[in-house]
């Protein structure tokens, strides 16, 4: 009898032990918003999604279902306005990026449709203006609070080196040398990328042009401005490009000469600067890459609830930059770049 009771007890305890559990917290809407506003764009796109969750299906499978990523049509209305100027308030339209020629790259998430919220400039007048603060307002039709975000667009950047007043502006690279770049920015321009559009032509021995080429060199990423405000209200920023990096880029992207002669043509230097939000996000990512990475909190966001960032950027280009003879001389003494057969 005692044994039976014991068995019954064990059976009872085991029966009580459900082996199921809830890996997911109760459903909660988590908006995910990303947008970069630029005065140089003619159309402005904001990506608005929501976090998804399914208790029974792999997240990788759900991520392939577009309907699970986006708010359904009519669930939200999206507005942009210049802060403090209600008359500038405009509504963004829901568009399929695919139909606009913006196809999402292959990856974890569904590529079609690629729902975005768009506002197109009217005529040639830019809607987004430098140094202005803009608000994004997402109204939810189910009565939940608005989702909001704000950002200030960086002012136009002013090149110092190379000197844009010099005609032409000039830079030089040598094997072990450096080329300094410096510029000035308003307070809201914080993080910068520098890109060089490198152009060259092929000629035959008679001096006939055989072909013209254009290469895009992403020379620097995430360069930060100084924190010291100058008397003119601007901030200085500088960066250094190395000759070695430039030559590496050339050897990786230009095939060795098979007899043709090559000549550099004028280059463009493009300076892209982003808002403080980019810096905050990159810093929070870096923290997650540090010793506390496994325990660090979620990534930075300036969206009132949820994840993502709204930020502004500006772009200033310096065109017709002249590449000095030092560069070509140095290339011709370098065992790696000599086969490219650049001449001056």
């Amino acid at each position: 009898m005692k044994k039976l009771l014991l068995l019954a007890f064990v059976g009872f305890v085991m029966a009580q032990c459900s082996n199921d559990f809830d890996v997911s917290a109760p459903w909660k809407e988590v908006p995910v918003v990303y947008g970069i506003l630029s005065p140089k764009d003619t159309a402005h796109y904001i990506r608005i999604e929501k976090a998804f969750l399914d208790e029974n299906v792999s997240a990788l499978e759900i991520a392939r279902i577009a309907d699970s990523l986006y708010y359904p049509e009519g669930a939200i209305t999206v507005f942009l306005e210049e802060k403090g100027n209600a008359s500038t308030k405009v509504q963004l339209s829901r568009v399929d990026g695919v139909k606009e020629g913006i196809t999402r790259a292959e990856g974890i998430f569904a590529t079609q449709p690629n729902w975005l919220y768009k506002y197109k400039n009217i005529g040639t007048t830019p809607y987004i203006k430098p140094d202005k603060k803009y608000s994004l307002i997402i109204k939810r039709t189910d009565g939940k609070p608005d989702i909001t975000a704000e950002t200030t667009i960086p002012g136009n950047f002013i090149f110092q080196v190379p000197n844009p007043q010099a005609l032409p502006a000039r830079i030089n690279f040598s094997k072990n040398g450096f080329q300094d770049i410096s510029w000035r920015t308003t307070e809201s321009g914080v993080y910068f990328n520098i890109t060089l559009i490198v152009r060259y032509r092929d000629e035959d021995a008679m001096g006939n042009t055989l072909a013209r080429h254009e290469l895009i060199w992403p020379a620097l990423k995430n360069t930060r401005r100084s924190n010291v405000k100058q008397t003119n209200g601007l901030y200085n920023a500088d960066a250094t490009l190395t000759g070695a990096a430039f030559f590496d880029f050339l050897t990786q992207n230009i095939p060795a000469s098979i007899g043709e002669f090559r000549y550099f043509e004028r280059m463009d230097m493009i300076l892209e600067g982003g808002g403080l939000e980019i810096e905050q996000l990159v810093i929070s990512n870096n923290i997650n890459a540090g010793i506390t990475g496994s325990e660090a909190s979620n990534a930075y966001t300036n969206i009132s609830e949820g994840f993502g960032i709204l930020t502004g950027k500006n772009v200033t280009s310096l065109t017709n930059v002249f590449l000095g003879s030092v560069t070509v001389d140095s290339m011709n003494t370098n065992i790696l770049t000599r086969p490219l057969n650049f001449k001056y």
Partner: protein, 761 residues
């Protein structure tokens, strides 16, 4: 503070504290050994016949009877299952008689007298939050994988929580592994458990006893804020060559031991050795025997342990041991490749002076531990800790008093390195040293046993002294009911970088004294001296001898972790401190009962525990907070000469906490800066964790293990032990981990039948 410390040390070593015999009296002391093996016998009764003087031997077989009036006595020693020992002695004024006692087995089984000896000892010692584990107990447990091991036995003790069959960690009354000190003959072992979780580095055959101090421990232990596990090994056979070879699908092992200088006369000296080696073979046998386990992954655990000891013992009980070890472990899961290596060595000694009541012991060791893990993302983390430890201990015995004091010097360096997802190498190398001293005094006053203690921990790298009073009290209410209580302050300067979100929680990065630490919930950094981790313990309990062979022990405890150093998960800027302070509490009640009969043994332990942490923003349960934990262990011997033994163990544990998933999202990381392509990019998958930390609970864990053992005797010393065992008898699918992204669950080990054999000679 340094002045205060110096005064304490001077006081400690002044012999004004010495207690001992009165001028016109003498003492009798010695060891009780098994005549055949020369191994010490614990809990034997030694008395002076015709006088009210006696003592029980401790686990080392040592006894001392002090303040004996001069005269002729008959020294009697007995232990059930052994022939009695009688010797006429004459106690002279001021003299100490040293007498080794060798007794022979009579063939009867262990029984009432042992129980009686243990109960006498229970009356005279506080024994709160202290569990003494013997090799016999370890071997009686139905062993997972067919080989008995302390790692499996620890999990059946009240207050001990083990987080899994594979890659589990040991938590003791709310203390994480780094807060529990595991010692082998005085040496700290930083990772004593192999990754498979069934086996420790300790060789069961070599263990003399294991003291598990789950809280409220006295001043002779320190440097950790939660618990102590003190493993002591025996010497090699001093009389003859002996050993064993053993094999199971999980591991193969061999032990060889014997005399180099044989013990010839009972009061003679000897030199002996013991060498043990074991190797995990489950990764090779699993594809053939357990193809169904872990799908195609198998059971990819490897380990090998080698330990050697050389013992020099004199006729009066003084001894020196030299020892060394090399332990290695490795596991190769698809999601993580993990391995560690631990090496070390040292010596310990015990001096038993002929004309003093003070016994001196000491230990000098050096050990190193290196581990590395490479996860599916191929980013490597490595951690190393190595250092020395030296200690001198003095024990002084009186009739109703016992005083123990000592000093320890401890120095260690930690090296931690990992590669983050941006391929940056992050390194942290530190060195620290500690000088610690303690005094512990035990006094019996009628039915009361009081045991005050005081410990000073001096942390050199922090220039900080931590004065730590301790106390233990026992009151023998009746012959069968004993009340007890203990408490104290504790500190430590070692922390770990265990990642609670690791899928397989194998890797522990050791660190000491971080440079800067935030106060909880603030942006204020704490001062240099406050970087210690601290706790306060209070324990109260009752022991009841329900019947002659049934004991019940109930203890309630609280551990207040007033300062814990943790990774700063609220770090917002790169130059913010990597660490911050948390506080926490662990409290609960542990109930254990055992019934020892001639042929059967039943052990039942239940723990109700609560553990929480406060990080300045929320109070949350850590990942090892198990509310209910119950273990039932039973063995039954039967057949001719009790050569058959049937064993069963059932464990039930409530689910561990974890942070639930709130959702998944497109996670643009802006690694390319402002050039990020928002409209056309396809970023990484981000996980949104629920705001409530560890708000979810895994399902209950339960598992039944059974074993059937047969001993076939060939001669007095040789036998074959064959064990058939079955782990997870009813194939409970206990959860191992859950892959949130793929929504797949991986379970712990399923039903595992094993057959093992051990030949002893």
């Amino acid at each position: 503070m340094k002045y205060f410390y110096s005064i304490f040390l001077l006081t400690l070593f002044s012999h004004t504290l010495a207690i001992g015999q009165k001028g016109d009296k003498g003492s009798v002391r010695g060891y009780v050994y098994d005549k055949a093996t020369a191994q010490p016998i614990g809990f034997a009764t030694v008395k002076l016949d015709g006088a009210n003087f006696g003592a029980n031997t401790d686990i080392n077989g040592f006894f001392t009877i002090t303040n004996v009036p001069t005269g002729q006595y008959k020294l009697v020693a007995n232990y059930f299952g052994y022939t009695d020992f009688n010797l006429e002695i004459e106690v002279k004024k001021g003299e100490i008689i040293f007498q080794n006692i060798y007794i022979s087995e009579s063939g009867a089984q262990l029984g009432e007298l042992v129980i009686s000896g243990k109960k006498e000892q229970a009356k005279g010692e506080v024994q709160i939050s202290k569990l003494v584990v013997t090799p016999k107990q370890i071997r009686s447990l139905p062993s997972a994988g067919g080989q008995a091991d302390i790692a499996q036995y620890l999990t059946v003790l009240p207050g001990v929580v083990f987080t899994g069959d594979q890659g589990g960690q040991l938590y003791i009354r709310g203390g994480s592994p780094v807060q529990n000190r595991i010692m082998l003959d005085g040496m700290t072992i930083y990772n004593p458990f192999h990754s498979i979780g069934f086996y420790s580095v300790f060789e069961t055959e070599l263990i003399r006893n294991v003291d598990v101090l789950t809280g409220g421990f006295n001043a002779d232990y320190g440097g950790r804020i939660s618990a102590i596990v003190d493993v002591k090994t025996r010497e090699g056979n001093r009389k003859r060559m002996s050993g064993l070879v053993s094999s199971s699908p999980f591991l193969a092992k061999a032990v060889i031991e014997g005399p180099i200088v044989k013990l010839r006369d009972d009061n003679d000296g000897s030199v002996s050795f013991v060498l043990t080696a074991k190797k995990g073979i489950i990764s090779q046998t699993a594809p053939k025997l357990y193809e169904y386990v872990n799908d195609s992954v198998g059971i990819p655990f490897d380990f090998q342990d080698v330990y050697g000891k050389l013992s020099f013992t004199t006729g009066n009980g003084s001894k020196i041991n030299l020892f060394g070890f090399n332990y290695e472990d490795g596991v190769d899961f698809p999601i993580a490749d993990f391995g560690w290596k631990s090496t070390g060595g040292g010596m310990d000694f015990t001096l038993v002076p002929n004309n003093s009541n003070t016994i001196m012991s000491g230990v000098f060791t050096y050990s190193g531990y290196d581990s590395r893990i490479e996860e599916a993302d191929r980013l490597e983390r490595t951690s190393g800790i190595n250092g020395f430890y030296a200690a001198f201990n003095f024990s002084n015995y009186g009739r109703n008093d016992e005083i123990k004091y000592g000093i320890e010097i401890n120095g260690f360096g930690t090296k931690f390195q990992f590669v983050n997802f941006k391929n940056f190498v992050i390194k942290q190398d530190e060195y620290t040293s500690e000088i610690n001293s303690y005094i512990r005094w035990k006094r019996k006053i009628g039915p009361l046993v009081i045991e005050p203690g005081f410990r000073l921990q001096y942390y050199n790298s922090l220039n900080d002294v931590s004065p730590e009073p301790r106390i233990g009290i026992k009151y023998n209410v009746t012959d069968k009911i004993r009340l007890k209580a203990a408490g104290g302050l504790y500190s430590q300067n070692l922390l770990s970088t265990v990642n609670e979100r690791d899928v397989v929680n194998l890797f522990v990065g050791f660190l000491s004294a971080p440079d800067r630490v935030y106060e909880p919930g603030t942006n204020n950094t704490v001062s240099t001296k406050d970087r210690l981790q601290k706790s306060r313990h209070a324990v109260a309990g009752i022991e009841i001898d329900v019947a002659k062979n049934i004991d019940l022990n109930v203890e309630t405890y609280i551990k207040d972790y007033s300062q814990l150093i943790s990774l700063n998960r609220f770090k917002e800027k790169q130059d913010d401190p990597d660490y911050f302070v948390e506080t926490g509490k662990a409290y609960g009640i542990d109930i254990s009962g055992k019934m020892e009969m001639k042929h059967a043994y039943i052990w039942l332990a239940y723990s109700l525990g609560y553990v929480n942490r406060y990080d300045g923003k929320q109070t949350y349960p850590p990942v090892f907070d198990r509310r209910h934990n119950m273990n039932i262990v039973s063995t039954y011997q039967f057949g001719k000469n009790e050569s058959w033994e049937l064993g069963a163990r059932w464990n039930l544990g409530s689910g561990f906490p974890f942070s639930q998933t709130q959702g998944f999202y497109s996670n643009y990381q802006f690694n390319g800066g402002i050039g990020e392509d928002i409209p056309g990019g396809n970023p990484d998958l981000g996980i949104v964790y629920a705001a409530e930390r560890n708000g979810g609970r895994l399902p209950y864990y339960h598992r039944l293990d059974v074993s059937l053992k047969k001993i076939i005797k060939f001669s007095k010393f040789s036998n074959l032990e064959v064990t058939a065992s079955c782990t997870n008898m009813y194939n409970r699918p206990n959860i191992f981990y859950f892959d949130r992204v793929r929504n797949t669950r991986v379970n712990q080990l399923p039903i595992l039948p094993t057959l093992s054999a051990t030949f002893q000679f």
